[in-house]
């Protein structure tokens, strides 16, 4: 029987990537947004003639770029369907670069990016997309780097890279034998789609996460369409905007990239998203970026997979209303990251030639209150909800109690309490009543221990610890009521309480006691000893003692 020749099928001469393709989910839509951002950047570079001769093919400059970009799709046309690489290679090279051995996504910012920002954004990428060592080459350990910010030398640790997977991503889109566009479905591994792992490693071939060539292309550009920020050295947040209009997104993507190192500092997913919205001026988000919401995925090591950063939380956060935005602005102002310094002793030489030199090292210390407020506002809760956690929980990064850092937040807390942030009656009055009672107690102690400075300081500290434990340890409404009434009963003539007791009382019932507990501890953390000299000294002594224990 004669063999029948297979009919030769012409290779595809175009590729359409549609934002509203049902197979594109949230991350892939953001990836299409990232692709559009890159294409728009190339178009602008050609128009303004700001490019090197080797950057783009001559035909793009003479005849126009081989794609059409519209608000809902991108259409690539291949003049030679057997040389698809000619189209994709320059696009990938423009998008994924390196600068000073650090990842440089030049289409996501305007002008020149600060090295400190680039270093921080690279850490975010390495905790999400580029976790695995095989996805990058370069040094195997972090290097210490001194970067000058505002005239002071700050130390950063960074991993110097020579290559990362996304730079050669165009090769996966192409049929290597024919040079045409690949027609097969391809794997979308964790490097391209963080969190989409193989379901059963025993059957890796059958249970991997797969997609078409357009899905693969979108996944490659996800780092451009999203924003990955580290929370600390071991965890990160991946912010995925819900892209609705490619042209608007491409024109405004650079606005969501932090422009200074200070803007890179985040304390959690809510904080990261609200800071992103703040950079877009919050209320205009929909018009400016064409996103309906931002979803934050948290990545960190787990007890059962400590070698990798697993996806452990996902939160969809919509833009805030005016009132919440106003409260977040206060929080940003009063709890901004601050520059701190520490003395470092460096030993050089051995034996008799050994020398010790001391130098001052600067670092950024971020607030622990702002992330809490941001999370609350993002979830439409009262801004102080869960303040008790700051007295109870430990920092997962170093295992130290959060409460040790509260004295450094006192100024911010006092300013926050005095700002226009109270919407419900009785909340401010409860804080005022606790402040009044504490002032009375400290006054009593000061008068009982006059001329005994050490005893006074000990008793002040003891008093603080007593109410800290009483409030934060209360597990029921009865326990909390007992504690707070105990405090109130020890000081006569609490004018704040006498004037507002009808408004304060509902906060002590079964449904409101946890809010009242948060408020009482907020009052304890924000208490400042005003009045007598002894009281002021006691407050300082108390703060010094707290700082020393930190």
């Amino acid at each position: 029987m004669a063999k029948t020749a297979k009919a030769k099928v012409a290779p595809p001469d175009h590729l359409e990537v549609s934002l509203f393709d049902p197979e594109m989910d949230l991350l892939l839509r953001a990836g299409i947004g990232g692709l559009a951002t890159t294409l728009r950047w190339i178009e602008r570079s050609i128009q303004s003639e700001q490019y090197d001769e080797d950057d783009f093919p001559e035909s793009w400059i003479d005849d126009g770029v081989p794609w059409e970009l519209s608000s809902d799709k991108i259409l690539f046309r291949f003049a030679d369907p057997e040389k698809v690489e000619d189209v994709f290679k320059p696009i990938f090279q423009a998008a994924f670069g390196l600068c000073e051995r650090t990842i440089d996504l030049q289409t996501t910012y305007l002008g020149k990016q600060q090295q400190s920002v680039r270093v921080n954004l690279q850490r975010g990428l390495m905790l999400t997309f580029l976790q695995h060592g095989k996805t990058r080459t370069g040094e195997k350990k972090d290097s210490e780097l001194n970067i000058e910010i505002d005239g002071k030398s700050f130390q950063f640790s960074t991993r110097c890279l020579d290559w990362y997977k996304h730079q050669d991503g165009y090769q996966d889109l192409i049929d290597k034998k024919k040079g045409t566009l690949s027609q097969k479905s391809a794997e979308l591994p964790g490097t391209l789609y963080p969190g989409a792992a193989v379901r059963h490693n025993g059957f890796a071939g059958q249970t991997k996460y797969e997609g078409s060539v357009s899905q693969l292309l979108a996944a490659y550009f996800a780092p451009i369409g999203t924003l990955a920020l580290p929370i600390n050295r071991g965890s990160a947040v991946l912010l995925v905007p819900d892209v609705q209009d490619l042209l608007l997104f491409a024109d405004n993507r650079r606005k969501i990239t932090p422009s200074s190192y200070r803007d890179c500092l985040i304390g959690g997913s809510g904080d990261a998203v609200l800071q992103l919205y703040a950079r877009l001026r919050g209320d205009d988000t929909k018009q400016r970026l064409a996103v309906a919401s931002v979803t934050a995925f948290v990545f960190r090591p787990t007890a059962w997979a400590s070698q990798q950063k697993s996806r452990v939380a996902a939160e969809k956060i919509e833009p805030l209303d005016q009132r919440r935005l106003e409260i977040f602005r206060y929080a940003k102002d009063h709890f901004a990251p601050r520059k701190a310094s520490r003395k470092v002793t460096v030993k050089t030489g051995k034996g008799k030639a050994a020398k010790s030199t001391e130098r001052e090292e600067f670092f950024w210390s971020d607030s622990i209150v702002r992330p809490l407020i941001a999370d609350n506002l993002a979830h439409r809760r009262d801004w102080f909800t869960g303040f008790t956690k700051l007295f109870v929980d430990r920092d997962p990064a170093n295992g130290k109690p959060f409460r040790d850092r509260l004295p450094f937040e006192r100024t911010g807390l006092i300013a926050m309490i005095k700002a226009d942030v109270w919407d419900k009656p009785g909340q401010m009055a409860l804080i005022g009543a606790v402040h009044h009672a504490l002032r009375g107690r400290y006054g009593q102690i000061a008068s009982e221990t006059a001329n005994q400075k050490a005893a006074m300081q000990n008793r002040f500290r003891g008093e603080y610890e007593r109410w800290r434990l009483a409030f934060s340890g209360a597990k029921t409404a009865d326990q909390f009521r007992h504690s707070i009434c105990d405090l109130f009963s020890r000081v006569p003539a609490n004018k704040e309480l006498q004037a507002n007791w009808t408004e304060v009382l509902p906060w002590l019932d079964e449904s409101g006691w946890q809010h009242a507990r948060d408020l009482a501890l907020l009052a304890l953390a924000s208490y400042q000893g005003k009045g007598a000299k002894e009281l002021a000294a006691a407050a300082e002594a108390s703060e010094d003692a707290d700082s020393a224990s930190a």
Partner: protein
């Protein structure tokens, strides 16, 4: 078209791409709803009612929580399921007090050997019809442990007039994709529908906006 009122005390409708953190969808996807309806009428062949259109809407906002639970995955083929390295913990998002409205339309079904899915579902809601159904175990929506509490024709549902329903309906410029056909082996055969969560009442929606259940092979040859 037929409407059902369904309540599930605890449920999780996992996203397909969520493989290490089991994130839940706010409501069951059309493919999950279809599977639930097949289970309800005792049908074991999932290709039997291709062409049916179905969707779900969630009433109110169910409470969300995250739990740490034991899951099995096959890492070592020699070991039994759920043994040794074939077990791992992971976080799972749960919804509690889930109340749903489900709409089903069978006017475009391909095969009608035993009646359409709509007819079979309607029959299963009658005392006489229910007694003729042969099926396995309890009725679940999503995972097999997520047992359904009640299924009622929407006309007999409790007072719903004041409630809002967020329903998944097709939209060409939507921002939400849900599977209409799941490839249980890989994922390349999984097919999705693009739509939006839209606030609606308890009246039947426009049939053309209900996602259609289609085998991936049919979709690919189209």
């Amino acid at each position: 078209m037929i409407g059902l009122y369904v309540t599930v005390p605890i449920a999780s409708f996992r996203r397909g791409a969520a493989r290490e953190y089991w994130e839940t969808l706010p409501l069951p996807s059309p493919s999950t709803v279809y599977g639930f309806l097949l289970s309800m009428v005792g049908e074991v062949d999932r290709t039997c009612h291709i062409g049916a259109r179905c969707t779900a809407g969630v009433i109110g906002h169910p409470d969300e929580s995250t739990v740490l639970r034991k899951l099995w995955r096959i890492k070592d083929k020699k070991l039994g399921l759920g043994n040794g390295s074939n077990v791992r913990p992971d976080y799972q998002e749960l919804l509690t007090d889930v109340r749903l409205v489900i709409w089903l339309d069978s006017s475009e079904e391909v095969t009608e050997s035993e009646g359409t899915l709509q007819q079979r579902v309607a029959a299963s809601l009658t005392t006489d019809g229910r007694s003729r159904i042969s099926r396995f175990g309890g009725l679940s929506l999503g995972e097999s442990t997520h047992m359904v509490d009640e299924v009622l024709p929407i006309q007999r549902a409790p007072e719903l007039a004041d409630e809002s329903v967020r329903m998944f309906l097709l939209d060409k410029s939507g921002n939400f994709t849900l599977p209409v056909w799941v490839d249980h082996v890989g994922s390349s055969g999984t097919r999705n529908a693009l739509g939006r969560l839209i606030e609606v009442g308890f009246e039947p929606p426009d049939v053309s906006r209900l996602p259609k259940i289609q085998d991936s092979k049919v979709l690919m040859t189209k």
